[in-house]
C-alpha cells in the first residue's frame, strides 16, 4: 500500500498490571472505513485511546511517517479526531459552540471568534449531521440521538486525516444509526481513515471496508467483512451463529443464536 497513513507495530498496553492489549500490528492508508469489533472487554476502546495517544503504550505508532510519540499534543490533535463513548458535555453549552471546539487544535480557542475557514468547517460538520437547526439550542435540551449527532459533528469539524470514533451509533434509533454510519462512510470517501468501534456487526459488515476483530487484547482477524466475520470467528470470538445474505449488493451479517 503506498502512502500509508497509519502504521502500528507491536502495540501493547498494560493497565494496572494487566495486559489489556498485546502485539497489535496494523497498517492503513486513507479513504477507508475500518470497523473495530470484539466482545466486551476485548480492548477496543483501549486500542482507540492508544492510537489517539491518550494512554501509555509500547510498540510504535506512525502517522503519515511521523512517530506519534515525537509529535507535540497540538499536532497530534490535528491528525486525530477522537470521539469517546458517552458524548459527555458537562455544561449546558450551545450546540454550535460545542461543534466549534472541534477547531481547537487549529488554534480556534474561542467559538465567538472563528476565522472564516473555521466557520465553514463548523458549518460543513453541522450540515453533514443535520444539526444546523439546533445551532443555538443548549445541549441539555436535546434528545440522546441529537446529542450523538452533535458529538459526531464536533469530531467531524476537526477535519483530521484520521477519525477515531468509539461507538458512535450507541443509543441512536435505527434511522440515525444508519445515518451516522453513512456519515462516516462519506467522510472516509473524502479521503479520511475512519476507525469506528461498534458492537453492531450488521452495520460493520455493511459499511466497513475492513473489519478488525479484537479478542482478549489481541487482533484475531482482519480483512473484508466476509473474511473477518467468518463463521469460525463468529463462533470462536462472539459465540454466536449469524444469518448471512446479500441484499441490494451489500453484505448482510446478522448475529442469530448463541453457540
Amino acid at each position: 500500500m503506498s502512502g500509508e497513513l497509519l502504521r502500528v507495530d507491536k502495540l501493547g498496553v498494560t493497565l494496572s498490571g494487566r495486559a489489556v492489549l498485546e502485539d497489535v500490528s496494523l497498517s492503513f492508508s486513507g479513504r477507508r472505513l475500518v470497523a473495530l469489533v470484539g466482545p466486551n472487554g476485548a480492548g477496543k476502546t483501549t486500542l482507540l485511546r492508544a492510537l489517539a495517544g491518550l494512554v501509555q503504550s509500547k510498540g510504535t505508532i506512525e502517522v503519515g511517517g511521523d512517530l506519534l510519540s515525537s509529535l507535540p499534543l497540538r499536532e497530534r490533535a490535528r491528525r486525530f479526531g477522537y470521539l469517546p463513548q458517552g458524548h459527555v458535555v458537562h455544561w449546558p453549552l450551545r450546540v454550535r459552540d460545542i461543534v466549534a471546539l472541534g477547531r481547537y487544535p487549529r488554534g480556534a480557542t474561542d467559538p465567538a471568534r472563528l476565522s472564516s475557514d473555521d466557520e465553514s468547517a463548523v458549518t460543513r460538520a453541522m450540515q453533514a449531521t443535520e444539526i444546523v437547526t439546533l445551532a443555538a439550542r443548549r445541549v441539555t435540551e436535546l434528545s440522546g440521538g441529537e446529542r450523538s449527532r452533535v458529538a459526531l459533528a464536533r469530531v467531524l469539524a476537526v477535519e483530521a486525516p484520521i477519525l477515531l470514533a468509539d461507538e458512535p451509533t450507541a443509543s441512536l434509533d435505527p434511522r440515525f444509526q444508519i445515518d451516522a454510519m453513512q456519515n462516516l462512510r462519506n467522510t472516509a470517501d473524502r479521503g479520511v481513515l475512519a476507525i469506528v468501534v461498534t458492537h453492531d456487526l450488521a452495520l460493520a459488515a455493511r459499511f466497513a471496508d475492513t473489519v478488525l476483530v479484537l479478542s482478549n487484547g489481541r487482533l484475531v482477524a482482519q480483512g473484508t467483512p466476509e473474511q473477518a466475520l467468518s463463521e469460525a470467528v463468529m463462533a470462536d470470538v462472539f459465540r454466536v451463529t449469524a444469518y448471512r445474505a446479500d441484499y441490494q449488493h451489500e453484505h448482510v451479517i446478522v448475529p442469530w443464536a448463541g453457540v
Binding site: 485511546r49 490533535a77 476537526v158
Partner: protein, 340 residues
C-alpha cells in the same frame, strides 16, 4: 451570528460589574466612624480636602478597599477556575479546604513566632499549605471525580486543616496568642495598611494570571478530560497551573485577611444566569462579582450596629452556607445518584 449575540451579555455584564465595584469601593472609602460623602472621598483621593480627611481616606481606608476588591476578585476567580477545571458547580476553594489549610500554615508561623508583620513568611506558608491541600484533593479525586467524592475529600481536608489549627492553638504558649489567632481566623480587613497590600497583592496578581491563562482549556474541558486531551490540551499541566494559581491567590489572601469563605462558590453561580455556562467567559465576571461581594460585605460589617465588630469572614460564611445548602438541594439528584 449566534456567537455575537452570545458574547454581548458578557461585555454588558462586565462593564456593569466594573462600575459596581468602583461605586462600592467609593462607598467603602466613605464608610466608617467618620462618614464621608463620595464627593469628599474622590476629592481626598486626588489630594484635596483636609489633612485629616486625606489620612482617613488614603492611609486607613484605601488599603482596606483595595484588599477587599483584590481578595474578593481572586476568590471569585479561583471558584470559577476550579469549577471549570472539574466541570462541577460545587467546586470552590473553601469547600476544598484551601483557605483553611492556608490558615493553618499561617497560624503555625504565628505560633512559632516566625512571622512579623513585614515578612513574607506568612503568605509563603499559607500558599504552601493551600497548594498541598488542593494538590492532595485533586490527587484523591482522580481524573473523573464525581460530586460526592470531591465534597467528601474537601470535607476531610478542611477538617484536617481545622484540627491542625486547633492543635496549634491548643499548644500555644499563652492564652492571648490563642485569642489573637482565633480572631484572626474569623477573617477581617480591619486596620490593614499598604504594607499588607504589598504583602498580598503580588501573590494575588500572580495567581490570577495563572488562572486566567488557562481559560480556553476550561472551555475544552467541558467535553471531559479525555476529549480535551485529544484536542491538544495538556490536562496535567492545566491542573498544575490551576492548583498553583488557586494556592497563590488564596494563600496570599488568607495571609493578610484570615479565612474568608464562600465568595468563590457564590460568585460564578450569580453570573451563570446572566452570561451562560461557558467556563472561559465566566472567569472575569466571577472575579468582579467576588470583588463586589467582599467589598459589600466589608461595608456591611461597618454599618450593622453591634457591640463588637462583626468580622467579614463570619458574614460571608453566614450568607454563603445557606447558599451552599440551596445548591446541594438543586444538585440533589446528582449527589444521591453519584453521577459524575
Amino acid at each position: 451570528m449566534v456567537s455575537q449575540s452570545a458574547t454581548k451579555p458578557v461585555y454588558v455584564t462586565t462593564v456593569g460589574l466594573v462600575v459596581l465595584v468602583v461605586l462600592l469601593a467609593l462607598v467603602s472609602l466613605g464608610t466608617g466612624p467618620v462618614r464621608l460623602s463620595p464627593a469628599i472621598v474622590i476629592d481626598a483621593l486626588f489630594g484635596g480636602g483636609s489633612d485629616v480627611q486625606q489620612t482617613i481616606i488614603r492611609e486607613i481606608r484605601l488599603p482596606r478597599a483595595i484588599l477587599a476588591s483584590a481578595i474578593g476578585a481572586v476568590l471569585g476567580l479561583s471558584g470559577a477556575a476550579l469549577q471549570g477545571l472539574l466541570r462541577n458547580p460545587l467546586a470552590s476553594p473553601s469547600l476544598f479546604g484551601a483557605p483553611q489549610s492556608a490558615a493553618f500554615g499561617a497560624v503555625l508561623m504565628i505560633a512559632l513566632g516566625w512571622a512579623d508583620a513585614r515578612s513574607y513568611v506568612l503568605p509563603v506558608a499559607g500558599i504552601a499549605m493551600a497548594f498541598v491541600s488542593v494538590f492532595v484533593l485533586l490527587g484523591i479525586a482522580g481524573r473523573n471525580a464525581g460530586l460526592l467524592l470531591l465534597i467528601l475529600a474537601g470535607l476531610a481536608i478542611s477538617s484536617l486543616a481545622g484540627a491542625a489549627t486547633a492543635l496549634v492553638m491548643n499548644l500555644s504558649p499563652n492564652p492571648f496568642a490563642s485569642l489573637e489567632i482565633a480572631f484572626w481566623l474569623l477573617g477581617s480587613l480591619e486596620d490593614r495598611s499598604f504594607r499588607h497590600v504589598m504583602l498580598a497583592l503580588p501573590f494575588i496578581v500572580a495567581g490570577g494570571i495563572s488562572l486566567w491563562t488557562q481559560r480556553s482549556a476550561f472551555r475544552a474541558l467541558s467535553l471531559g478530560e479525555e476529549t480535551a486531551q485529544s484536542l491538544g490540551i495538556d490536562v496535567t499541566r492545566v491542573r498544575l497551573l490551576v492548583i498553583t494559581g488557586v494556592a497563590l491567590g488564596v494563600g496570599g489572601a488568607v495571609a493578610v485577611s484570615g479565612t474568608i469563605g464562600f465568595i468563590g462558590l457564590v460568585a460564578p453561580h450569580l453570573m451563570r444566569p446572566l452570561i451562560g455556562y461557558d467556563p472561559a467567559r465566566l472567569l472575569v465576571p466571577s472575579a468582579l462579582t467576588g470583588a463586589a461581594l467582599l467589598t459589600a460585605a466589608d461595608i456591611a460589617v461597618r454599618i450593622i450596629p453591634s457591640n463588637t465588630d462583626i468580622k467579614v469572614g463570619v458574614l460571608t460564611s453566614i450568607i454563603g452556607v445557606p447558599f451552599f445548602l440551596y445548591l446541594i438541594v438543586r444538585e440533589r439528584r446528582a449527589l444521591a445518584g453519584g453521577v459524575a
